[in-house]
Each structure stands twice: as C-alpha cells, then as structure tokens.
C-alpha cells in the first residue's frame, strides 16, 4: 500500500447486510440450477416456475438432431394456399422470428393470438381476407457440414398440424381488446 492512497470501503453498518445478500444470491442461483437439473426440483421452483427463470443458464445443453420450423396455409376462395408467414412478421432475433421458439408453438393462447393476428396481416398484405388458417410444424434432420439444409424424405421430414383457425372467430387480448 502506498502512503496517501485514496482507499475507501463499504460502511461498517452495511457490511453484514451486504454479506447476507451475497449468501442469498448464491442460494438463489443454487435453487435455479437445481430447478433445471434435478428430476425432483425444489418445491418453490415447482410452485413458482418463473421465479428462477432470471438466474437459469441452460444454453445449448442438449443434442438437437432436427430442425423445426412453422409453416402456414390460408383458405382463400375455397382453396388452401401456402404463404410466407415470416414475411408478415419480418423482425427477427438470432433465435428466429417472434414465434420461432418451441415454447411458443406449445402454448395454445400464444398460437391463437398469432393465428388471429395473421388473419389481419394476411388481409392487409394480400388484399383478400382468408376464411381460415392452418399452422404446421415441420421437422427434418440436420445435415452436418453443409450450409444447405435439404428437406425431404431422405432427411426424415415430417409435418404436424398445430392449429386450424377460423378467421371469423374473435380473440380476447390483454385489456379486453378484441381483434
């Protein structure tokens, strides 16, 4: 230590509360880790699953051999036509479009909101309102070493219907808004 150095630290009365806060933080992280890792997560994490979301770091952990994407069709003038869903929602993150993540597809209310919004956006973009919409989950095997990721039977492509939506049906949004 050099003489005359400017040295200051936390006031004495704050030091113990500060230490307790660090211990609580360590406990929070430990519980967050156990909530993801353990087959029998702590009861608090089961009751309040989002309490630990902020401190959970499960990133690229599991093996994922398949690509999964969502495609849509519109019923216009009695004909089912596929259309570019992504073009109606152009903003994307590195994780894909707003609806690209698997948690979105698995969540009924979110899918219904997407369907209802797509009825409106499709009509605005194409000038014709669709009568119905269909959303499919498409899954196919990844190809290592290639920027092209071909689909088809060879890559075990499969399609699952996620939702069929009648565009005349209303939907309640937050604050009671109806689209």
């Amino acid at each position: 230590m050099t003489k005359g150095e400017d040295r200051r630290t936390t006031p004495r009365w704050l030091q113990l509360p500060g230490l307790l806060l660090l211990i609580a933080l360590a406990g929070y992280y430990w519980t967050a880790y156990r909530s993801v890792y353990s087959k029998t997560p702590p009861r608090i994490a089961v009751r309040n699953p989002y309490t630990f979301w902020f401190g959970t770091w499960k990133m690229f952990t599991m093996k994922e051999r398949y690509h999964v994407t969502m495609e849509a069709e519109a019923l216009v003038e009695g004909q089912w036509e596929s259309f570019d869903l992504d073009a109606l929602y152009p903003y994307r993150w590195e994780s894909g479009y707003r609806y690209s993540r698997s948690v979105f597809r698995r969540h009924g209310p979110r899918m219904r909101t997407l369907a209802n919004a797509t009825c409106g956006r499709y009509a605005d973009a194409h000038g014709t309102p669709p009568a119905m919409l269909r959303f499919h989950k498409i899954k196919w095997r990844k190809t290592l070493g290639s920027t092209k990721q071909p689909r088809g039977k060879k890559r075990r492509e499969s399609s699952t219907l996620l939702l069929e939506w009648d565009c005349n049906r209303g939907l309640d949004l937050p604050q009671g808004r109806v689209l």
Partner: protein, 286 residues
C-alpha cells in the same frame, strides 16, 4: 466476524470499473440499437400482444408505435448519462434499465440470455464505484466485484455442469456442438458449418468448453490462474462469435472481465501500459 468482514471488504484497486463502464455502454448500445427495426412489428403493435408470466405489463399498458419509439430512445439517454460518468453514471444506469426493460417486458416473449446477463452485469456495476472519476488512482470496496464473481460462477458453472451431467456422451464426442453449429437460426455460420462434420475439432472444442465452464467457479478465485482463465474465456467467446449466431452474447459476457480480473494484476497491466505509452511519447519527442 469483524475479522471476516475486514477481509471481505478490504479496498481493492478500482481501475477495472472504468473499463467495464465503457464496455457496458458500447455493448448496450450495440444490443439496443437494432430494436428500432422491430417497432411496428414486435414492439408497439396492437395485434400480437402477450401477457404471460413473468411479464404482465400488457395488462396495464399496451404501447403504441409512438410510445415504443419514445421508450426505445429514452434508453439511450440513460446510456449517454452512463458514458458521461461521474454523478450521472448510476442514475444513467437506472434510466437504461427502466426503459430497456419496459420495451422488453412489453414484447414479453423474446427476452434473451444476453438481456438477462446484461441486467445482472448492470446490477454489479451499480454496486461498484462507477459513479466516481479517476478510479485508476483509487481503491474501493470490492463488494460489486464479489457480486459479479458470484454471477459469473453461476453462469459458467451451471451451464458447464448441466452439459456435463445432462448430456455427457454427446458433449464428450462433440456431437451436441456439431448439431448446434448447423442450427437454422443460431448456427449456419461459415466457419461453424465447416467445423460441424469434423469430429476432431468439435470434440476438442467441446472438451475445452466443458473444462472452462465447469472449472470456472473453482479456478477464478486462485490469483495465479485468474488472468489465464479469463484469457481462456475471451478465447471461448471469440470462438462462439466466429462459429455461431448468438447476437451480442459474446460481447455482453466480456463486459465484466476487467472487474473479474484480479485487481492487482489489472493494476500491474495498467501501469505497464502507461509506462509503455510514456516511453513511446518520449521516443517520439526525442
């Protein structure tokens, strides 16, 4: 007890905080700027409105596009204050946190790991001495550093141990990484695709990742190892940046590194750099 508290709160060289503050401003700017493209599509929309745990903001306030523009811009005011530093730094950080999170919470679906890490880092900076100038000549409470060390031990440790214990074989033979390198959104970068069908490289990279992440919570506290471990961390994040598309994650993770570096090592490096600059200036003058 007093002895423990004395040791825990012994002032440490504070120069690293200045570097972390500048890095934070730069990375937060790069993270927040592109969000303007989403206004009218994902931010400030009336059709795709979501209110779900843990974000219920839309139950009370749905942004119009004009409001979304205002909130987006206000976050930059906070960053400006943080960049100016001094007494404006901490209020600036709070302004940044408030407005950036208003925008994220209104969208409610796509809050990324780097948004959360940026926020943990912001809290760490708020607990540090970023509101002072001339920190390279000061020693301050290490409390914010302990906080950030804990956050990074949890970050690297939990992700490393989850990989090791949950998908052991796939990580040890490099397969998990290989498939992530060709992920349709996160992957498909030129270098990553090239590496993805070369098990020698993916296995080596996987082992390096596991070793770094799982050992971080143990090794970071050892002074001799500390700088080399952080250097390995820079290598890991540079590798992620080159091979994957994870947005600004790699940069966000590096913001806190100047604080995580042992303060005496950081001071030595800082002094060497100053001596080198002074010698260069003297040489030029001669």
């Amino acid at each position: 007890m007093n002895n423990l508290l004395d040791r825990l709160y012994t002032p440490q060289w504070a120069g690293g905080w200045t570097a972390a503050r500048y890095l934070f401003v730069l990375v937060a700017f790069v993270t927040h700027l592109p969000r303007w493209r989403g206004i009218g599509d994902v931010y400030g929309v009336s059709d795709m409105v979501f209110s779900n745990p843990p974000f219920f903001l839309a139950d009370y306030w749905i942004f119009s596009p004009v409001t979304a523009w205002g909130v987006w811009a206000a976050a930059f005011v906070g960053l400006g204050m943080l960049l100016y530093g001094g007494k404006l730094a901490k209020p600036g950080m709070l302004v940044w946190l408030l407005f950036s999170w208003l925008l994220l919470a209104n969208e409610a679906l796509n809050i990324k790991a780097y948004d959360r890490l940026l926020t943990w880092t912001a809290w760490g900076l708020l607990l540090g001495p970023i509101g002072e100038r001339g920190l390279t000549a000061k020693h301050r409470s290490p409390y914010g550093r302990w906080f950030l060390l804990l956050v990074f031990c949890a970050l690297y440790g939990s992700t490393g141990w989850l990989k090791t214990l949950k998908e052991t074989e796939g990580w040890l033979n490099g397969e998990v990484l290989a498939y992530h390198l060709v992920h349709q959104h996160f992957g498909l970068q030129a270098v990553g695709v090239w590496l993805s069908d070369k098990p020698f490289f993916t296995t080596a990279m996987s082992w390096f990742t596991l070793a770094f992440e799982a050992a971080f919570p143990l090794l970071i506290w050892i002074r001799r190892v500390n700088p080399w471990l952080l250097l390995a961390g820079i290598g890991l994040h540079a590798g992620i940046y080159l091979t994957m598309n994870v947005g600004p994650f790699s940069f966000v993770a590096l913001i806190a590194y100047p604080v995580l570096l042992h303060p005496e090592t950081a001071r030595t490096l800082h002094e060497r750099w100053h001596r080198w600059r002074a010698a260069r200036r003297a040489k030029k003058a001669a």
